[in-house]
Amino acid sequence: MTEVPTNLIQRLLSGLGRFSLMVAEVVRSLTTQRLSGRDLVDQLHFIGVKSQMVVLVTGAFTGMVLCAQTYFQFHKVKMDTATLAVVSVSMCGELGPVLTALMVAGRVGASMAAQLGTMRVTEQIDALRTLATHPIDYLVVPRVVATMIAVPLLTAESITVGILAAYLVGVHLLQIDPGYSLVNMQRFTDHRDVLMGFIKSFIFGGIIATTGCYKGIHCGQGAEGVGHATTEAVVYASIAILISNFFLTLLLTRLLALI
């Protein structure tokens, strides 16, 4: 903090360094400090309940449009009954985790950055430190843990709703045969797809909370600083989710093939 970074690379590296230090401090806090149950429940409530609407709508409409589009293509080659299998595989492994995480990043990541950023510019974080409380213990750890619990649950919810919505659209609107569809769905979706989605959403939860908290805690001066922090938290979290998703798909496919 004593030297003012002059160019982009320096700024990027020092940012990355501070981010890693924060994550290391979170891990240290998790292993040495007791996590307050009440703080955790408060955060779980905030993240879980506030995200219901967006997650349900995203899940349902993604499932529906995916079903319709797949059907239009498959119908040409008389593969109608494979439609729902495609929907369920892609919802479980890719679309469910990624879209849920992106929506949660927009809602929860942004509000974490705004909250902690405001606390920083109004000296509340300094006040916390004079009250013998580590900001990581009190502010960051409950948020990170709660997000890593909530995002997988929200993802499961969104996948379920998405597949149900797709089933309704496929069977009742597009007249696909329900019996064969269900058999195909079960044949092509296996536990590896589900596990992949679960692991991904767990990691995405971590990305959302650490990015949001980092941007908030290291926020610039004044209302402008808070505004910046909020936008950047969403942008960086979203980019990190999309990029890591690709590598996670490659990696997890390899790893899960072993079991």
Partner: protein
């Protein structure tokens, strides 16, 4: 009990602290005066270890805190209570939760004990019965009182006040000054007050140190400073700006 040695701090190309030497004895009440933007708040943040210095030492009971890590500093800060210039109350918590913050995180106090001590602290700052309010519903003077209650409830050894009376009307200022004196006498704490209010300085200080151009320019009793013939000091205490110097 606190000793600051050759403390230096620079922000960008602005040398805010340029070799500050200051000793704070146990049980004394010290007032630090100095111009707006002169680095008083920055100095205070160094003393409680919120900001790391570029060079120099801050010794608390003989231990150099300038290079301790945050976890080790937390234990040192338990000896300090601080009233921020902006009060810095947690706006998502009620007045009661704000004041009880340290006690409720220490986990060895019963809820009854905590609410009794909160009521006592509020009594002491003459604000009984506001437990359930949110900080946003309070006036500036009330916030400072709550901030003070939060800082003294856990019985610190030293209480720091950053401009406790700035922005308040003369009557409220006077009552805050009396409050500071009362807290100092009743709780037997060391008191450090930053101010540029001369009435306040005379009311609460036994000793006054003046920060000027990043150093402690002079120190003495309030009476000595008020009577000083030194041009810098006398202009400051009488509030006369220098025509040749652009101060804004």
């Amino acid at each position: 009990m606190i000793e600051v040695r050759q403390l230096r701090k620079r922000f960008g190309d602005q040398q805010v602290l340029d070799g500050v030497d200051l000793t704070i004895e146990k049980d004394e009440s010290l007032v630090i005066i100095g111009r707006s933007g002169g680095g008083k708040s920055v100095l205070l943040k160094h003393i409680v270890g919120l900001t790391p210095p570029d060079s120099g030492q801050v010794l608390v009971d003989g231990q150099d805190i300038a290079h301790l890590n945050e976890r080790a500093l937390l234990a040192v800060r338990r000896k300090f209570g601080m009233l921020f210039q902006s009060a810095a109350l947690f706006d998502s918590l009620t007045v009661e939760e704000n004041i009880a913050f340290v006690l409720s995180r220490e986990r060895n106090h019963t809820p009854e004990e905590i609410s009794r001590r909160v009521a006592e602290a509020l009594e002491m700052v003459e604000m009984p019965g506001v437990q359930k309010k949110k900080p946003a519903e309070l006036s500036g003077g009330m916030r400072k009182r709550v901030g003070l209650a939060r800082a003294i409830i856990y019985r610190p050894e030293v209480v720091f006040y950053d401009e406790p009376t700035t922005g308040l009307d003369p009557v409220v200022s006077d009552s805050i000054d009396k409050l500071i004196v009362r807290v100092c006498e009743r709780l037997k704490v060391t008191t450090v007050v930053i101010t540029h209010d001369m009435r306040s300085m005379q009311a609460v200080g036994r000793r006054v140190a003046m920060l000027h151009h990043g150093r402690i320019y002079t120190s003495g009793t309030p009476v000595e400073l008020m009577a000083s013939t030194d041009p810098v000091v006398s202009r400051f205490v009488r509030g006369i700006s220098d025509e040749k110097e652009h101060t804004f």
